[in-house]
Amino acid sequence: MSSFRTGSAVSRASVGIGLREQYLPALLALRDVRALDVLEVMIDDALFDPRRMDEWRALSRKWPLVAHGVALGIGDACGLDAGYVAKISDSLRAIGAWWYSEHLCFLRATAQGAARKDAVDLGHFAPMVLDDDDLAVLSHNAAQVRRCWAGAFLLENPADILGAQGRGPTAGRESGVRFARALEAANAGALLDLTNLVLQGRNDGFEPGSFLEAVPWERVVEVHLAGGRRAGALWVDSHDHPVDEEAWTLLSVVARRAENLRAVIIERDDRLPPLDALLAEVDRAREVLSR
């Protein structure tokens, strides 16, 4: 698969963490750079606070950076914000990001006859149907991203708390098939969020492995691992607990089958533990990958 290049300096299956501001001092002071192989930055942060770019450049002298976004809305049928795409692309180049990943979802909706500038921002990842009409949207929008960003572009399977992708034992495989079609339409690599998959399976009654059976392994470049929590009858992708044990099991499956896997990232967004706790999870991921 030659259409999504990854940075050649990323060693096979590097392991790192998602950078959060609270960890910055500890990371800059960390003497043993081998404790991490790679860092993932939230590229949208650069648009809100330009100081981030200086911090990230400092970090990039210690570790390679990959970039993750939350505000693109690759599935928005009302189109992308050209100015946003241009700014994100400038930021990606400025920090030498080896790839750019986003969520397979839509984020904005317009009223009948309204222009894109008047779209309602849902502020959270909303599921797509992923039929031919949606795939045409993905293809169109991904092409717009590529005109600004020549590096690799990955799409992540997002958490779908609505269960709109289907329920029951066959829902996993059906979701996996739609995910594969979406990657093809966007000509994108895959960022597999294994925790999203585990929680989706619990909420919607399918085995996560059935989703993976439909994934085009040659496109899998990155994995996200996190921990969710139970809220009432549902599991929520809260990123506020250690990595779910079932996600660790899936990582061993992915490690065996995804020959182009380049990075595994531990994510934490809330109830942040000391950096050492995340570094222990980095070590565990390395151990799983080395089996």
Partner: protein, 77 residues
Amino acid sequence: MTESLARQRVLGRMLEDPAYEARLRADPAALAREEGVTEGFVRGLAAIEPERVSAFRRSRVHKDEVREGKTPTKLGW
């Protein structure tokens, strides 16, 4: 892409506006005609349990707060 635009408008309004959600659940066929989407699509949305829609809204608010620094996060438990 017109179909996608219309579907996203309907799902977006359902997630944003509880009164619209109630109308969608009460009469999916009428809402489908009004919005120019298939009745099957709207019936699929109507089948989503209200607690899942509430969870979506809560998750959105929570993530907004974390990202805006309103929810305390600190080193150490």
